[in-house]
Amino acid sequence: MRHLLSTGDLSLTEAEAILDVAEEMQQVQTRPVKKLPTLRGRTIVNMFFEDSTRTRTSFEIAGKWLSADTINVSAKGSSTSKGESLRDTMLTLDAMGVDAFVIRHSSSGAVAQAAGWVRAHVVNAGDGQHEHPTQALLDAYAIRRHFRALGREGWQGKRIAIVGDLLHSRVVRSNVLLQRTLGAEIVLVAPPTLLPTGVESWGCEVTSDFDSVLEGVDVAMMLRVQRERMAGGFFPTAREYADGYGLSLERLNRLKPGAAICHPGPMNRGVEISSEAADAANSLVLDQVAAGVAVRMSVLYHLLGGSDEGETA
């Protein structure tokens, strides 16, 4: 694999290989020595044009546990038309002999553009409102483990509800594309003002009535609601949002037995998710965080673990 830009680029074999290797990587986290020598001598630059402490930290740990040299570059503020162009920023670092870039950017498509300019491998750590492939992979990983533990493994027939600000969410786009490959059904739930244009062509069920689908889903994936969306007039108040789309205690109690609760974090408790749901036994919130390191180790291994020429054998 040369880059990971979109989950839509992954074949079923590749997606499963990433999840399988992540299982092995997670074992490393339980060892006395949490380090593999695999990427010794490789240099990974985390370029975050937008702040994200958790994603950056997760990638940094992943790289370090694989023995790569990881460097964090905070490029925040340089993403304007007046500043240095994205191309110049990328070419400058690429010229230093970096092996891989992990890029987070507030603009949709910026990571794909960067990948077109550099020699190094590129991992998309979230671009604007477009994609966040490692988040979707770690969601899939945590969900797979959850159902495996219940003896109900397999994507066929699983229904995943993704609830919240779909319009501005990169997580939803990557999840829809990944699940199209893996095989679970997705139900998209959002107020009508937060549904992306053309969402009906994504091959998912779409509704603005959370309660109507609640009892039928195996996973409730609650998306973070940005408070600035209220100012944008997408919905009137947090209270009204929580009433229609929050995973309240009442809604929690109506979920199927064993249904999993996911949230990419950080959570607005009391808005899109109640404390009861966030802390419930079947909440995968912390499993998702733990999975983040393992999945990112697996992704870095798939990109950098072989020769630079050719694809996975």
Partner: protein, 192 residues
């Protein structure tokens, strides 16, 4: 059990060096030797190196259990992430590592099918070091074909054979391949 193929299009002629009956006998002898060297099954931990080393480790464990009447710990150790030649090949698939309990103070017997350059075993030492501190590490292989590139020797060898560098030793085990047999063949010109 499926029938072994009579030949392979890219490798020939194929010579059978260990057949099914002899393979069973060889593995049984190895089980006895391991017990003898360890003076019993106490503290033994057999770790197979994927893929066929794992099958051999399981067979050895079953035999030891028969002989001793008590179960012996067996697991598997994947060394892909520790290889020194990762960047010479496309990305390799990673196998499973699964250790029953701790390796600390155990007598670890690494089990592999073929001992050749020794690099796999060197990588296994690195992997073990990250997992803990065994009291001792021993090596059991079904076939030692020579051509070592590192100062490594097996404690326990099913069969030593002399080979040419361009020959290929193929171990086939029923768990993976459907039949038991070890063959040797000269790789044709242009073949890897």
């Amino acid at each position: 059990m499926s029938q072994p193929p009579t030949g392979s299009p890219d490798i020939e002629p194929v010579r059978v060096i260990i057949d099914e009956t002899e393979l069973a006998r060889t593995v049984a002898r190895m089980a006895h030797q391991i017990l003898e060297a360890n003076r019993g099954a106490a503290n033994l931990l057999l770790l197979g190196i994927p893929t066929r080393g794992v099958c051999l480790a399981n067979r050895l464990a079953a035999l030891i259990e028969q002989i001793e009447g008590a179960p012996v710990r067996v697991g598997q150790l994947d060394i892909t992430m520790y290889r020194d030649d990762l960047r010479r090949h496309p990305t390799r698939l990673v196998g499973r590592t699964s250790i029953p309990g701790s390796i600390d103070d155990a007598v670890v017997v690494l089990v592999d099918d073929v001992l050749f350059s020794g690099r796999t075993i060197a990588a296994a030492f690195d992997a073990l070091r990250d997992l803990g501190r065994p009291r001792a590490v021993r090596l059991a292989v079904l076939v030692d074909r020579g051509h070592r590139e590192l100062p490594i020797a097996a404690d326990n060898v099913g069969r030593s054979i002399s080979t040419a560098a361009d020959e290929r030793v193929a171990v086939r085990l029923s768990e993976v391949d459907g039949y038991d047999r070890v063959t040797i063949a000269r790789v044709k010109e242009g073949q890897p």
